[in-house]
């Protein structure tokens, strides 16, 4: 009995080792044949979220252009660790890509001890989607002007956002430091909770992504009084940017971008970039993204890299100034 057990365990070990060893360590044939099998795209969020939806929308036409299917893999988890780990275990052959968002730049500061190093391990391919945040008030509050709101509420200003460490919350901290120094930021768990708080009149201002609250805005449950982008949001041309409204320096734009492993053949990256750019330029994608409140715009790997680094720096300063604890 014991010997059979031992034998079996040995067999199992052998299979496991064989399993590990048989992984395709040879990088698939260069840029000429890429892609010749489906490409995995790892999404560090659950299905139904913004990053997931935009990538799926863009993924279809992109897959057609490339000639191979794009397979979405959701790997949610704190700090994006699960997704990053999967990504790092993959080869630099262009068959595994990952979606990073501006949230990733925040995580870089928030979590000291990450098992991955983005700047070393990953290279950008292109940005995919850009989205602003919106500053909202209760429609019954009578405020249509950001400055008027700040003056009226002063230090009693209450801002609702989602949980600490999120882009929205850090934007609120940034807003606080640039505009009204003693506002109280009240974090809620989810965007619907934020909306609820606004509806109940518990808070004066809510800062959240346009996409998440588009329905509420269209329903007149919440009234936007400023957007956080560099230019006005085409879906709401009458709403000024925060900078126009007088909060100098308050610009926050979120983004999703595709990244590949460092060491991927540059020709593959160039090809991907070009294809993504052409997909994002099509009317169909632009309209569908716009319906979500998102702008479809590609950029070059160099631009993306620059943006990534500057965002890390930007949020690092905000985190330090706000005194938020890092893990």
């Amino acid at each position: 009995m014991i010997s059979v057990l031992r034998l079996f365990t040995l067999m199992l070990l052998a299979i496991s080792l064989a399993g590990c060893g048989s992984e395709d360590n040879v990088t698939a044939g260069g840029a000429d044949t890429w892609p010749d099998k489906p490409v995995r795209i790892i999404i560090p969020f659950g299905p139904g979220g913004l990053a997931d939806v935009t990538m799926r929308l863009a993924g279809e036409p992109l897959g057609e252009l490339l000639g191979e299917r794009l397979v979405m893999e959701n790997r949610p988890g704190a700090g994006g660790v699960a997704a990053a780990t999967t990504m790092l275990n993959a080869d630099a052959d262009g068959y595994t890509l990952i979606v990073l968002t501006n949230g990733t730049t925040i995580t870089e500061t928030l979590f000291d001890d990450l098992p991955y190093n983005i700047t070393e391990d990953l290279v950008p391919v292109s940005a995919v989607a850009w989205f602003d945040l919106v500053l909202l008030v209760n429609p019954d509050s009578g405020f249509t002007d950001l400055q008027a709101l700040l003056e009226a509420r002063g230090d009693n200003l209450r801002i609702a956002t989602i949980n600490p460490g999120s882009t929205q919350n850090l934007s609120a901290e940034l807003f606080k430091s640039l505009a009204s120094n003693n506002a109280t930021i009240i974090p809620y768990r989810t965007t619907p909770d934020v909306l609820g708080a606004l509806l109940r009149g518990e808070v004066d201002l809510a800062i959240d992504a346009y996409t998440a609250l588009k329905g509420a805005i269209d329903n007149n449950q919440a009234r936007p009084i400023a957007v956080t982008g560099e230019v006005r949001n085409p879906a709401m041309p009458d709403i000024p940017t925060a900078v126009e409204a007088g909060i100098t320096g308050f610009v926050v734009t979120g983004w999703n971008a595709l990244y590949a492993r460092t060491g991927t053949d540059p020709a593959i990256i160039d090809r991907l970039n070009a294809d993504i750019a052409s997909v994002l330029a099509t009317d169909d994608i632009r309209t569908r993204f716009a319906e979500l409140g998102v702008e479809a715009r590609a950029n070059t790997p160099q631009e993306m890299q620059q943006r990534f680094l500057s965002d890390i720096e930007k949020w690092r300063r905000v985190i330090e100034a706000a005194g938020i604890e890092t893990l």
Binding site: G46, P47, G48, G49, D52, V53, R56, L57, M72, N74, R75, P76, G77, A78, G79, V81, A82, F111, D113, L114, R158, N163, P164, G165, N169, T184, I186, P187, Y188, R189, T190, P192, D193, L195, G196, L199, R200, E202, T211, K214, G215, A216, D218, N219, Q221, R288, E291, L292, I324, E325, L327
Partner: protein, 502 residues
């Protein structure tokens, strides 16, 4: 009435062959997933979501919703038959369902839970149809102080959950509350008890905890005791499934109460079916004339939680569909599914896309009926499951638990945690420390703290807010009454309950 005409339009939509087909697929898949321990409706819906992108929005939503409430029908099956919950909310059904099964009344238990699920679901659907806007407004008006008071009531009621030493039950509640603290503190962003592990930054996974404490621990318990549950080998006839008249009497009002509690809790955004089932159970135990029967096969102990279970998941659609405010994580995923079709949920959905709204609502009812028809005959099948020798059953159950827990976050650490909690649960159970209070504490703790602190921030640190707000005051009063009641009961009980351990 306008509502009825809208409803009939909805039925028109929902009774088309495609709609029926997807409804059927959804509820069947949901029931199947619900029965399997570990994998729950959230994971399944998330995994099926991409499939719906290529379907019409109505069909996709019907199917996903079917999975959602279908899972609640199935989750009690494993609880009753194996003492292993199909999902976290079903853990409470183990408490009385499994003893009933041991008494040879498995068929009756399954019958009762199916009917109770149907009644609970229908109750909530009726609310949804006729009172949705009013209820949604009401639900959204709940502020942090109100949530806190409700949770406090739930926690006080939790002290009734333990069979055996109340002190040990309380200790387990405290431990559960403490374990709920692991993760990120929402009011300050501080990482608590995470020990530098990013995976813990989101807190301990509820599914891992529930499956470990109730699933793995139960299996370890059976194996260690050496007396593996022996199978009942007879075929269950329909007659044998029928509850006795006495059972029906216990069933009637407990089911209604459970539906009511479930609907109430379910429509509040941010609460979940787990809280609803626990509260329904506690309410039954408190209101019962024979509380000592609970934990040993009381009918009310399974009918109320099951009704509450289904009522809460149906009621979660109330704020979701009418206000665009998802009741919980699963709703949020479904709404995401709508987003990709270009439909932004919100109040306008009811008016501008009335066809979609009423079609979905009608399909709920149809789905529940399908589930009733589907599940009743399957009871015999499930009971047959018991006749599989345990030595084949338990590795399979563990297998399902492993993959089920993994599939929630695609994270193997969760499975490891399941094992740890299983060992912990096994060990503590052996020494008389019950697991159910721990689970409740774990679920309630973070919510209570978050809402208490937020309530104070909103009221500028004034404690008066808890009594000023009418809803909060009502629930605090109920808690006070409950406490007084419990103490009086304890005082009048003879000292025979308080004995030193032999």
């Amino acid at each position: 009435m306008e509502t009825l005409s809208l409803l009939s339009m909805g039925f028109e939509q929902a009774l088309t062959p495609e709609a029926l087909l997807f409804c059927f697929i959804g509820v069947s898949l949901g029931t199947f997933i619900g029965v399997l321990p570990g994998i729950g409706s959230l994971t399944t819906i998330a995994l099926c979501l991409p499939l719906t992108f290529h379907l019409e929005p109505l069909l996709g939503l019907i199917m996903l919703a079917g999975i959602f409430y279908g899972a609640q029908y199935g989750s009690s099956t494993a609880s009753i038959l194996l003492n292993v919950p199909g999902s976290a909310p079903a853990a409470i059904t183990c408490l009385d369902g499994y003893p009933m099964s041991r008494q040879g009344r498995a068929g009756i238990a399954l019958f009762i839970t199916t009917i109770a699920s149907f009644i609970g679901g229908s109750f909530a659907i009726l609310l949804l149809i006729f009172f949705a806007p009013v209820l949604a407004e009401f639900a959204i008006s709940f502020s942090a102080a109100d949530y806190f008071s409700i949770m406090l009531l739930a926690l006080t009621a939790a002290s009734t959950l333990s069979v055996g030493s109340p002190l040990k039950g309380l200790a387990m509640v405290s431990l559960g509350l403490l374990m709920g603290m692991v993760g990120t503190d929402i009011n300050s962003g501080q990482f608590r008890y995470t020990f530098g592990i990013p995976a813990l930054a989101d807190g301990i996974n509820l599914v891992a905890l529930a499956m470990g404490l109730f699933g793995v621990a139960e299996i370890l318990n059976n194996l260690a005791a050496g007396n593996v549950p022996q199978a009942g080998k007879e075929k269950i006839s329909f007659k044998q499934m029928l509850p006795t008249p006495e059972d029906w009497r216990a069933f009637r009002f407990s089911c209604l109460r459970g539906s009511f509690i479930g609907s109430f809790i379910g429509m509040l955004p941010g609460t979940g079916p787990t809280i609803a089932t626990f509260m329904a159970y506690a309410a039954e135990k408190k209101l019962s004339k024979t509380p000592e029967k609970f934990g040993h096969g009381a009918v009310a102990g399974i009918s109320a939680p099951e009704a509450a279970n289904n009522a809460s998941v149906q009621a979660a659609f109330i704020p979701t569909l009418t206000l665009g405010v998802p009741g919980d994580a699963i709703m949020a995923v479904m709404l995401g599914g709508l987003l990709i079709h270009g439909i932004t949920p919100g109040p306008q959905l009811v008016t501008t896309d009335a066809a979609l709204f009423w079609g979905v609502v009608a399909s709920f009812w149809i789905g529940n009926i399908i589930l009733l028809i589907l599940n009743l005959p399957m009871i015999g099948l499930w009971v047959k499951l018991l006749s599989i020798p345990y030595r084949f059953l338990f590795p399979a159950v563990l297998f399902l638990i492993c993959i089920g827990v993994y599939s929630v976050n695609n994270n193997s650490t969760d499975v490891l945690l399941t094992l740890v909690f299983g060992i912990m649960g096994f060990y503590f159970n052996r020494h008389g420390f019950p697991s159910a209070p721990l689970l409740l504490g774990f679920v309630l703790g973070p919510l209570m703290e978050e809402n208490f602190r937020r309530a104070l921030v909103l009221s500028d640190s004034s404690l008066a807010t808890f009594v000023d707000r009418p809803i909060s005051a009502v629930f605090l009063a109920m808690t006070a009454v409950l406490l007084v009641f419990s103490f009086r009961r304890k005082a009048t009980l003879t000292e025979d309950k308080v004995q030193p351990a032999p």
